[in-house]
Symmetry: C2
Amino acid sequence: MPELKLQHILTLAELFSKGARYNFIPITTSSLGNSIKKSQQAASKHLLELESDGYIERLRTGPRVSVRITTKGHAEMLKIFSVLKSGLDVSSSYLEFRGTIISGMGEGAYYMSMKGYARQFKSKLGYVPFPGTLNVKLKDKEFIEAKRSLDAYPAIMVNGFSDGKRTYGWVKCYPARVNNSVNAALILLERTHHDDSIIELISKENIKKSTKLSTGSQVTIRVNIKPKPIS
Amino acid sequence: MPELKLQHILTLAELFSKGARYNFIPITTSSLGNSIKKSQQAASKHLLELESDGYIERLRTGPRVSVRITTKGHAEMLKIFSVLKSGLDVSSSYLEFRGTIISGMGEGAYYMSMKGYARQFKSKLGYVPFPGTLNVKLKDKEFIEAKRSLDAYPAIMVNGFSDGKRTYGWVKCYPARVNNSVNAALILLERTHHDDSIIELISKENIKKSTKLSTGSQVTIRVNIKPKPIS
DNA sequence: ATTACTATCTCACGAGTAC
DNA sequence: TGTACTCGTGAGATAGTAA
């Protein structure tokens, strides 16, 4: 809850970058107005208000004015800065899904046990999945949206293959944690029989056994994602 | 030059800190209004505007709304953040003085050569000053102000003493650089004969000789100061 | 409960201009 | 040139209220 008026932030930031923290810096209101993309009059008003609020000091030499930022101004700037920083820092980088376990087996279980897939799981995930997928019916729209947005993030790609009779589509794997206790992978299938409101997970373990959950139980799944690099 | 409206910054920051970067977070406009110290209506408007500007996505479930920050919203936040950061980072931490050299000797020269002072200079500054101070007449009000503000920053304290006949006041020393080439110390005397517009410097070297300057020349003096720690 | 409309008010901004 | 006044306009805020 900074006391500094929001509209003054950029003006103060501009003064900082002109080096006005410790020394009086000569500045014209029109150049300042230019920098903050406001009028000369607005810049003039900003300076007057910043001064009367104790964030800057002004020194007139004839028509010219020099400006210096006070300790209070500096502190206020740091306050705003840290509010923004804490917000950005907090942003935990995972997608969360909540829903209920819906079937004993999952129709994908059969396919996932096939050699063409299992081999890749072993090398790319480090294990051959327990034969049986965990199917979760998502509770709310936001989780369905979250599932859709998964596509935008990098996945472990398990390629499709052919066994001579027919072809099998690719599988995208997203390492995940079930109820914050069991490691698993959320899988997106190229050819799925599910609608958007169901997610499917594989794991080294028998997830239901490990979590002591059964059909109808509530579960929470987290998929860690990589935040975009700062650009 | 962020496109994000200034008034929306705190709202967006609040959404960030609620974890709305990747997941849809349920939030009421009144609690949001509370957090940003605006009305429920203002918060509602902020969300509508942030949405139509593409900074957030909203998902309604009955009367409730969940909110997620978009990549664009994240980018814009980082932009503002870096504008403020660059301003704060730049803030060079020195006080600058400009003026003209005024006397050949400086009246303080005699005192500064006294054993009671010289001993302390040797141990605290690391050298016995050249016998002769450099006196500079400050050019503008801002430099006189800068001199006044020196008091607020930590100095190397040279104590006063008595030689039996009379007492001599303390001397505060601020390590400085003359014309960015000669190391010196700006000194403030407890008992001074100068007015506020004159500063006095001592150095290991003969400053005028080293800088090839003489009475009447313009000089620039920089005194490094320690920025206050972030609190 | 909620959200978000309408009306009203305040105040930030820019234009014109005095100094 | 400068700064900073007055004044008109409109964006942004709140109150009241509908859905």
